[in-house]
Point group: C2
Amino acid sequence: MARAATTSDVFNAIAEPQRREILVLLRAGERPVTELAQELGMTQPRASKHLRVLREVGLVRDRKAGKQRLYGLDARGLRPIHEWTGGFERFWNESFDRLDAYVQDLKQARQEGGN
Amino acid sequence: MARAATTSDVFNAIAEPQRREILVLLRAGERPVTELAQELGMTQPRASKHLRVLREVGLVRDRKAGKQRLYGLDARGLRPIHEWTGGFERFWNESFDRLDAYVQDLKQARQEGGN
DNA sequence: TTGACGCATGCCTATATCGGCATATGATGG
DNA sequence: CCATCATATGCCGATATAGGCATGCGTCAA
C-alpha cells in the first residue's frame, strides 16, 4: 500500500499550500471558482479540484447562485487540528534546557515505573 | 508535476497518522526507535522512516546514547500550525447562521469597495 | 432552441509516498 | 578482530496525487 491516509482527511487537505490559500481567501466571504482561481493565479480546473478536496473533508460548502457556484468557508474542521497542536503547547513554551530536564524526568519515572 | 509540496514541510509531516502517533508518544520522553515501533505496532524500518521525516522537518531530534539512538520531541515546529488554524477560530465559534450573515456582509463590503 | 458562460470531470503523465524485505552501517562487548 | 545488537538505507511495488488539457453538463439570455 501507499499513502495509507489520503487526502480524505483534514490534515491532508490542508497539507497543500494552495488549499490553505483558498481557505484564507474564503475568510473574506463566499466566492465563485473563477474568482478564486484568478486571485490565486491558478487555472480554473485546478481550483475546482482543490475545492473538491476541501468540500469532501467538509472545510468548504458550496451553494448555487444562478450561473455561479459560491464556495464558502466551514472552518469547524480546523478546530481538531488546532486542538491537537495545542496539546504540544507546553513543549514549545519550555526552553530547551528545561525541556530536556523535563523529558529526562519523565523517562526516569517511566523506567522506575516499570514501563 | 505531482504533489508539489512534499513531506518536507511540517504540514505534510503531520498529515501522516502514524507520525502524529509518534509525536504524541514522544511527549512522554525520549525513546529509541525500537521501542517506538513496538508500542505503535509497526516494523522498525517503518518507524525509522517516519522518524526521518519528522527529523527533516525539525519536529524531533536525536542523540546517541551508546548503542541506541534516542529520539526526542521538538514541538516548536507545531506552533505555526497552531497559529494558522487559530486564525480561523472566530469562524468555528460563530454559529452558522451568524457566520453566513457575517460572510454576506463581507461580500457586500467587498463588492461595494470595488474589488 | 441556440449560444455563451461557469464550473466539474475525465484522461493522461510525472512524481512522490508508504510499506515490505533484505541488507548496510555503527557501536559495543568479548 | 568478530559477533551481536540497534538503527538506517536501498530497492521494489502499488497507489495516489497534482497538474494540464479538452470536454461534458447545467444555467441563463435572446
